[in-house]
Symmetry: C2
Subunit: 409 residues, 2 copies
């Protein structure tokens, strides 16, 4: 349509696209809203909001529902909400010991999800891709017949080149130069765009959009599992760095006399605060995996003093690395995700002790350290946000992008 | 003028202001340019450029000069350049052992500058303010009678709250909660805006505008003297953090068994790479100051093996901290300033050795570590950029802001 218009038509077309996007983004992030709420939040006129909502409804992206009367007199205002069951993206996650696939509806609801164990042995990438593709098929088979899929977002615990969805290196998974985007495209037979990114970057995206740091401009998200990853929101934007690789916080040197890291260096933060460090401190086999971590958490909950002492030491090292990052980034909120969210109650006191002595007071007074609100789902929900990007930018293209969910069966 | 116009007039006034600013910013950063260059660089039409240059010339902000014939046939195109001697800002710097004041012309030329020693004893702030004010008077007295001053920018080796120019803490200077902006305003009797900021943030600004990282979007500037400060440009914007305090890289913990830092913590990067650490490694009194550093540099230049070995160890610690920062920020260029610029040739090899083992390969391949191009003047030139901001945003207000240089006499 843009091609058929002159310069003025082009401009008004861009304005319409931007207004449609404003309405859809607001509904996507804030949930069900009345038209009056939309007028307030977008600054658009009531009649413009009406026309735009009508257009989004015709595109099947939103539905208007009459909210049940709340007892106040007068006609209840209809609510506009994202049409979640009609519009989904597939969100995927590749962790060291599991893979997961979810269908996430427009508006951010996790409709369906499956997770499957992945042996920690370094599998060839095509095996993992096959697993993801199989799980995706299970998910799409359970979606309603009239449901459309818009894209696939993948969170990977490694360095991902965004331009071609190439996993350059994922030390804990054992991948080097894996063209994840194109491998998935071949395996899935679902003609939608695929985007991959670092799992912690996506966790940060999700937490800053709809989690523990919703709406904040300066956020550090730290996610620990076997490895430790980070995502930074700075001045309201994801900090990407010159090559898109910013946030490799697992490899800041914190203990020059420390242990050898999988990256080849000594004493990276990851060697002191990852899963293996915690198990080692609890005198468990460091390769005990999720089951061993579960034992440790149960021991801690029971008040086992040896485990609580180990947690305290773990917290001290979390605090040491965090102090450096907070001094550098001056975030208003640090969100601890993954394993760090699960051990939060047992480590937060020693984290604060370290921040107290190591962070400049003016910076320390401005920062809060909180557990992830989205928990284990944060990277998956971030992967969904990544997959929604084209539609949130240009909602009018919805019919062009939407692919029937059963197309891959 | 804005108040006298209706909505359409307002819009065209904003467009004119933005176009004037585009021309002035281009000339300010790129130096003398022909009108044709300006057409190419701004995307504005030739006639618009002509009118805007005319307006800037009337405001005395630019001059047009006929460039000497370069031997090619045809009439030489006139060059537009910033009118540096007619328009200046005062740039100031407060370091641990010196204060400096400079007159910096529009276009970035350092016209006049004076530096004066400051005893390392913790002087009360009003003494330093008096020194700055006296130096400023010396400088303005030597400016041409028709020269106008637009503002004062101050670089301070400490944490500065930008909203009210309050120095919250400057551990190495011994300041706490010093209202530097208002103290200077009272002492100077020069009715122009005063802005203060952290010296390393301003060094980063200067290097990314007209120094070793000119035009680059992702830059880390590291400046070492007694303390160590940093400035980060991320995605083309200065990273400020939630409170404006981002970049306190001197206090990342790198050596948990290390020395007590002036901030109260142990093993901050500053304790391993600051001036005192270098002197200690060279078996000189750590409080020897600039004279002792000068000796060390001369010894190194002569090839003194003991000093060169100390430099190597210094470089190792610079590299350890830098590795963490590069993993986190993924900059395309790291600029080493201050003391780090002066010792650059003796430390760069050990820095590279550490980056080689500690930085993720994909990130390492994208980063260059270079010495400051502006040297000791970087923070002063950055302070000037800070002071130019109002005029670069709204050049038409020049006559309103300009104050005669001799007004403070």
């Amino acid at each position: 349509m843009i091609n058929r218009t002159g310069p003025d038509g082009l401009r008004s077309e861009l304005v319409r696209q931007s207004n449609l996007a404003a309405i859809l983004n607001t509904v996507h992030l804030a949930g069900a809203l009345s038209r009056s709420d939309l007028v307030l939040r977008t600054g658009l006129s009531r009649s413009a909001v009406g026309a735009l909502v009508g257009e989004l409804a015709e595109l099947d992206l939103v539905v208007e529902t009459r909210s049940p009367s709340d007892g106040t007199p007068g006609r209840p205002s209809p609510n506009v909400k994202a049409h979640a069951t009609r519009n989904v993206v597939l969100a995927m996650e590749v962790l060291v010991d599991s893979v997961a696939v979810a269908a996430v509806g427009l508006g951010g609801s996790l409709l369906l999800s499956v997770r499957s164990d992945r042996p920690r042995a370094h599998l060839p990438a095509h095996r993992t891709v096959q697993d993801l593709s199989d799980l995706a098929r299970q998910i799409t088979a359970r979606l309603p017949a009239d449901c459309g899929v818009f894209g696939v977002g993948v969170a990977v615990a490694g360095l991902v080149r965004r331009t071609d969805n190439m996993v350059l290196v994922a030390p804990n998974i054992g991948w080097h130069d894996v063209p994840l985007g194109s491998l998935l495209g071949e395996a899935m037979h679902l003609d939608v765009p695929i985007s991959a990114s670092n799992d912690a970057d996506l966790g940060a995206l999700a937490e800053s959009r709809r989690g523990a740091a919703a709406g904040l401009d300066d956020v550090l998200y730290v996610s620990g599992e076997v490895g430790v990853g980070g995502g930074v929101i700075s001045g309201g934007r994801a900090m990407s760095g010159s090559g898109g690789f910013a946030g490799e916080i697992g490899h800041i040197p914190v203990n020059t006399d420390g242990l050898l890291c999988k990256c080849g260096a000594m004493g990276c933060w990851e060697t002191e605060i990852g899963e293996e460090a915690l198990l080692r401190r609890c005198s468990k086999p460091p390769d005990g995996g999720r089951a061993a971590i579960q034992d440790v958490l149960e021991d801690a909950a029971r008040g086992d003093r040896y485990v609580l002492q180990a947690m305290k030491e773990q917290g001290r090292w979390i605090g040491i690395g965090l102090a450096g990052l907070v001094n550098v980034l001056d975030p208003s909120t640090v969100v601890l995700g993954g394993l760090l969210e699960r051990i939060y109650p047992y480590v937060i006191e020693s984290i604060h002790d370290e921040l107290q002595v190591r962070v400049m007071p003016a910076i320390r007074e401005g920062v809060h350290v909180v557990p992830s609100a989205l928990g284990v789902d944060a990277p998956l929900l971030g992967a969904a946000e990544l997959a929604w990007e084209p539609i949130l930018t240009d909602p009018a293209a919805a019919n062009r992008w939407r692919v029937a969910a059963n197309a891959s069966q």
